[in-house]
């Protein structure tokens, strides 16, 4: 897990730059049409905050509970904005891709040992995003059901 620290540092220190790269992508990606008319000044802080929070739990022994906490709030915000679930999740997939794209661009994994670190970091990132996907979908689904329940009671 220590090998992942390099990526963790990058995520914590360059969250705003990563978020900008992500925003450029998400506003024109054909799988995220909701974001096409979004104000970049509004969505960049969302992504930057996401990277910051992710970097804080990256080395936790059991990151799932912490991820559930901040992804619950993230899901609530996207639900209020009426971002379709599949698009919101794809925007998260793009966030993950941009961690890697940024790391590659910064050429932080060059030597053989660093290449080994790359694989380790990649596995760790995937695990984090597996939790993120699950926690996000779980909360969003719960909110959808709550909304249906409320309307049924009226």
């Amino acid at each position: 897990m220590l090998a992942s620290l390099k990526l963790l540092d990058l995520m914590a220190n360059s969250s705003a730059s990563m978020a900008k790269q992500w925003a450029k992508d998400v506003v024109k990606n054909p799988k995220t049409p909701y974001y096409h008319n979004s104000d970049q000044d509004k969505i960049i802080p969302q992504a930057a905050e996401f990277y910051q929070k992710l970097s804080r739990v990256y080395t936790d022994k059991d990151p799932f509970t912490a991820i559930q906490g901040f992804m619950g709030k993230f899901a609530e915000a996207r639900f209020k904005e009426k971002v379709p679930l599949h698009e919101a999740l794809y925007s998260i997939i793009l966030m993950r891709r941009h961690i890697w794209l940024y790391a590659e661009f910064q050429a932080i994994f060059i030597s053989i040992i660093e290449q080994h670190q790359a694989l380790d970091s990649q596995l760790r990132t995937i695990l984090m995003f597996d939790y993120i996907t699950y926690a996000f979908t779980e909360k969003y689904w719960e909110l959808m059901n709550q909304e249906m329940g409320k309307k049924n009671k009226k």
């Binding site: 679930l85 599949h86 794809y90 290449q115 979908t137 689904w141 309307k151 049924n152 009226k154």
Partner: protein
């Protein structure tokens, strides 16, 4: 990337059933996928095999995203039919990907330095495949929810789109005014001129029902007005005729108006819910 991933693709193709069995054991007892525990094992394995066979198809396809659609849509339909919550369906996909990787590790497919490099490439390919499939599954699953709501609310939609219901508000008030005026004239003619309580009051159900359909519970005021009309007219012009018949008629006006209004309010709520979720 294709060349690097070949080793993994070969393994998957050859051992699809074994990996699917391993996945089935995992997903059926995993605490994040409890709904799978009640499914028949064969059905779960079949789903896993379909996923692992997709790997080759996607690798050979010019547009892998398109190649994944058949599987993803079927997977979403199956999960929806089996009432598996969306987050569990997605986590089962995550486990499909993980088990593939665990099996490859267990088989010692990637050992040397070069193979380690292949491992990274293969890993990227499995993640890309998962990204596409998860997006398509979630999209389809939501589509299925909307289709079911659509199907259930079909008669409601037909009701709300009915031209009599969708008439403009100003015309509703105007038409109601004319109908009520007609009711007053009819009542005066029968009670004062003919001196009879003959059952012309059945015609009053037209404005009563229309008012309840248009204005829901508020439409009951039309029924109350018409009930009052026949009772007052009876007192004024039909002193010799027993009062009980008209009392029952007046009560029926209010009951019918109230029930129809209450039902229409319910239909409107369902319609609002439908609109909000489509």
């Amino acid at each position: 990337m294709q060349a690097y991933a070949t080793k993994l693709i070969d393994l998957i193709e050859l051992k699809a059933e074994n990996i699917a069995k391993q996945w089935a054991t995992d997903v059926m007892k995993h605490n994040r996928t409890p709904s799978y525990s009640s499914l028949p094992l064969d059905r779960v394995i079949e789903r896993g095999v379909a996923f692992y066979r997709l790997f080759r198809q996607m690798s050979l396809a010019n547009v892998p995203y398109e190649a994944a659609k058949n599987f993803s849509w079927k997977y979403a339909k199956d999960c929806y039919r089996d009432k598996i919550p969306l987050q569990e369906a997605v986590y089962a996909l995550i486990l499909l990907r993980r088990n593939l990787w665990l099996y490859a590790e267990f088989q010692g497919v990637f050992v040397s330095a070069l193979e380690l490099h292949q491992a990274v490439e293969s890993l990227n390919r499995t993640i890309l495949m998962y990204d596409y499939v998860s997006y398509q599954v979630i999209e389809k699953y939501q589509e299925l929810i909307h289709a079911e709501v659509d199907k259930k609310l079909g008669p409601v939609k037909m009701t709300m789109n009915n031209p009599i219901i969708a008439i403009k508000s100003i015309y509703k008030s105007g038409l109601m005014g004319i109908l009520l005026l007609g009711a007053c004239i009819l009542t005066y003619y029968y009670h004062a001129t003919l001196g009879t309580g003959v059952i012309f009051t059945h015609l009053f159900y037209i404005p009563i029902i229309l008012a309840s359909v248009w204005w829901g519970k508020k439409g009951i005021f039309t029924a109350i007005f018409l009930a009052g009309l026949i009772l007052i007219s009876h007192v004024l012009f039909l002193k010799a005729v027993p009062f009980l018949d008209d009392i029952i008629r007046a009560l029926m006006f209010i009951v019918i108006g109230g029930v129809v209004g209450w039902l229409m309010d319910g239909i409107r709520k369902i319609e609002d819910m439908y609109k909000a979720n489509i």
